[in-house]
Symmetry: C4
Subunit: 125 residues, 4 copies
């Protein structure tokens, strides 16, 4: 499992968005899902990009070795106590100190029923 | 953040389509979501390809440094005042003068409720 | 536009499936969406793989230069007059004589409302 | 068809999840869809990663040459008789002894109607 290259340290998600509304029992949400196949913990840093303001950084998570972490954006607080806003077109940068693999998923229940979308994020270096 | 290679200058979306109808409060739409991690503004050009007619170009957008822009296709006007037609099978080419990363998303409410689909676009050079 | 490499000649879609049922006005369907950025027509060949029988080939389409073609699987007839079966787990191979880019999309209305999924296909050589 | 490189031997799906509930006639499920374009059978091994416990391995499948197999996670039993749990954030590693191509799809009917998501998995060596 401890291959030399098991993913990348930098992953990009150009379409991020936290829906404001939900219907039914499932809350609309978005996740950056990380898998760490390395032998030491991955320190994950998230930076949020906007259309009309400076990027918002300081969001952190830990992914232990041989574990996944599905980082849900809503409720995530950065090191200044700030949250990611809802209903704003955004993009995400996921940085890790060790190689990881990242998939991006949104679940949207804004209108009755359920919509899902997913993609492997875009790896950079 | 100013890495040498932060994406690509040319991105392809072979399945583009603007649904004609919407239900509920959310309008069906499609977006090319761009993130610019470079230090200067990205000039974005969109070209739309069809099954049965010449490509339609001249659609432009700007993505400032450290910003995202979610380019919604409906309502977009080119430099000759033309719009992208609805209900036509299309493909998109997204060109930028600097490296960017592009994700393609469609939200479809043609039938009650909500459908979403997304993928990282295909990078060319 | 006439770059040396504008895609690949061989694309793989491991999850293909034609839903048997539809609800509402939209018929469940699946498409292999092709964009041809080369200066000559692309001859496209589709081969369908199954879990429990020999592959089914002989499905053809043409994508002219600077055009897209969204090849809908249902209703497609091969050179022996055979159709692609419904309700069978399948995979697709899309071959072209010139480089193209391929995206795979399924629209499923088996249960009321609408589900969509898409991904850029996997390029081989 | 027997190209030198027809995919990869190791594929990663960072966002795996088996929904606990279903509505309507379609059961929520998730699949790793494999296509084998080689001339000999592919022995597939699945390992499931979690957020808070050791990985769960020992899930196996065979994909004959020129066949696809859509491995549905629910109901899959490993060599110790264990099942993959529902309602847990997970990630998947798909290993094969020969090159294959893998696409990941989830169908979710937790809330009335149908949601679909898909992506080509991330290839590692």
């Amino acid at each position: 499992m401890a291959k030399k290259r098991v993913g990348a340290k930098l992953w990009i998600i150009p379409d991020s968005y936290l829906p404001e509304q939900s219907t039914g029992g499932m809350k609309s949400h978005e996740s950056a899902c990380v898998l760490n196949l390395q032998s030491r913990a991955a320190k994950i840093k998230l930076t949020v990009y906007f259309e009309d303001r400076e990027p918002l950084g300081g969001f952190e998570a830990i992914c232990p070795p041989a574990r996944t972490v599905h980082i849900r954006l809503e409720g995530l607080k950065n090191n200044r106590g700030e949250f990611i806003p809802v209903a704003k077109p955004m993009a995400l940068m996921v940085e890790s100190n060790v190689d990881v693999i990242v998939q991006h998923t949104r679940l949207d229940t804004t209108q009755p029923a359920l919509a899902l979308m997913t993609t492997i994020a875009f790896p950079l270096s």
